[in-house]
Symmetry: C2
Subunit: 340 residues, 2 copies
């Protein structure tokens, strides 16, 4: 077990790696905690929840909506949760996003922490304090930025993770490699998903490395005025696709990353799009998808990174180095039409 | 017109007194603003809204709920509001509370400002960054603390304010006098509501004085760890009564203040409860009300100031000086039973 503390503007986060769920009570007093998880996690790990007040959500992105937040709030009132209550989200990105959001607004904000149970949760969603819900097909349209008090890694939860979810998480690992870690990109090119699924040490090192990459980047730019935007690589087109085509997040951003790689070639002289295609294939992720531009553009236009007629788009200069470019919506429209 | 700037932890607020609505475009670019108001204000001041994108809400506390926030968010998406959009709440406390809340969570936070149109809004609700919604009978159960970029006072809006709403606002003025301004309490004892309703200068001075009292107190303790709690004088019982008995906020907290005055006599040797009763009567506010303790206590127990079995309760030492006391829930229960 290793604990590191990261300070943010108005809170600090303990990142506890190599831990076990049984240590949770060190970070959150059992009598003053309410756990939030989903049916899949709860059914697969029932005994772990014994003795904890627990709210169980229906699983899946389609429940990452205000109605679910409303129902959690009703249950918090039934539990008589007060300002000394800690909410602990135990699950993938959907569970931790909605837990952080409810904790940020219940009684104008109570303490919260996460136990991410998916690869995507461990390396990405649980880190950085972005939380929230989707509104119709618009991803994360409502939420706030507020940091968890702790993030506890217990990789034993991965035993029950379906393979499609493993691939889903590796999409964000590949993203991190693309935008800021060429050495990790080369490591990923040498290995494959099967290697990490059976190699405990390789996996835990990779997860820890990715969690640290993200948390350090967020620490430098918590409110996304600069470099944090790089994490949106693949996400502009990805988010527009995700909820309309019922893709998993990782699948959608893989298509988005591949598109951004081509866009980077056109605008930035980037010449390694083939390596991106190769690594996506290596980890069982789609590089291309069929979609209707006329359905995509209205959603893409509502991207949170839009300001009036331009949108900040993340492009690659080379593997391991991304840049932020403000592009006209019509330039993006034209490019995406040329793709499909 | 006078503009003062108040800095808070992560934002600053321009308080613009003696202003006119026509100056709004100085603080919020017309092409990048969306106004939020209610049917009463809109119908009484239609021409003012010409040329502004406006969302019109149903009036009243019963619409200060998540469903209204959801509907505002849908309309913001239709307006294609982005992170450069400013929301301006024009109305009483319900409108400004919900506007601030939506602005805090839409796209994880956009700029917002207020034009309070009621006495209560001018002296209290628009100030201090607390925003949110009610959940069932629980007042302000969900929300965040986030400061508006500007508050613009145009007292012309008061022309359409019903008299019951004037009394409603004076309850908060009396509260400010009770907890921190004995001189103002004496001034209020000398005058009455009719005086302020016809005396423009007296009214604008009083409103400005109260707005400044509150904003300075909030500035010292934005997140309510100490003295800001004093503003909750009368609000613990008041909030428990308000939504269950369909009282106006000012009426409910008047009953709450009177109860707290009696409680202060018992616990603090406070001996001026009669003056509190007198001033409430002078401004047409109820000092007592019939209620069912068994209906009240479960709601009161969910007060945001509760921590486990105790609750911080605001008592008076003398007129103009309040103190915070942590009381056992059972002490409060016993006292409230003795009242009714």
């Amino acid at each position: 077990m290793e604990k590191k503390n990261f300070k943010f503007s108005s809170a600090s986060t303990d990142l506890v790696t190599g831990a076990s769920f049984s240590q949770l009570s060190k970070y959150s007093d059992k009598s003053a905690s309410i756990l939030i998880t989903d049916e899949h996690i709860y059914d697969a790990h029932k005994t772990k929840f014994r003795g904890w007040n627990t709210i169980i959500l229906k699983p899946g992105e389609e429940y990452k909506i205000q109605g679910t937040a409303d129902s959690i709030i009703d249950q918090l009132i039934e539990f008589e949760a007060d300002r000394k209550t800690t909410l602990v989200g135990i699950g993938g990105g959907v569970v931790t996003d909605i837990t952080g959001y409810v904790a940020a607004v219940y009684m104008r904000g109570i303490r919260f922490g996460f136990v991410p149970t998916s690869v995507l949760g461990l390396v990405d969603a649980s880190i950085g304090g972005k939380n929230g819900i989707d509104v119709k097909m618009y991803k994360n349209m409502v939420g706030v930025i507020r940091q968890p008090s702790f993030i506890l890694h217990d990789l034993a939860f991965l035993k029950s993770l379906p393979e499609r979810q493993w691939r889903n998480g590796f999409a964000e690992i590949i993203k991190h490699a693309c935008i800021m870690d060429a050495a990790m990109f080369r490591e990923l090119e040498k290995n494959d998903l099967a290697f990490y699924m059976k190699n405990k040490k390789g996996l835990s090192d990779l997860i820890r490395r990715n969690a640290m990459l993200k948390i350090k980047l967020v620490q430098k730019d918590e409110f996304e005025n600069g470099d944090r935007k790089l994490l949106n690589f693949g996400h502009t087109l990805g988010h527009a696709l995700e909820n309309q085509y019922e893709l998993m997040h990782g699948e959608a951003i893989s298509i988005g990353m591949m598109a951004a790689a081509h866009f980077s070639r056109e605008l930035n002289g980037f010449n390694q799009a083939a390596r991106i295609a190769g690594i996506l294939d290596r980890y069982g992720l789609p590089a291309y998808g069929h979609f209707d531009v006329n359905k995509i553009m209205p959603v893409l236009k509502m991207d949170k990174k839009r300001e009036r007629k331009t949108l900040s788009y993340i492009l690659l200069e080379k593997i391991g180095k991304a840049v932020i470019r403000n592009l006209e919506l019509k330039t993006i429209d034209k490019f995406i039409r040329s793709l499909s």
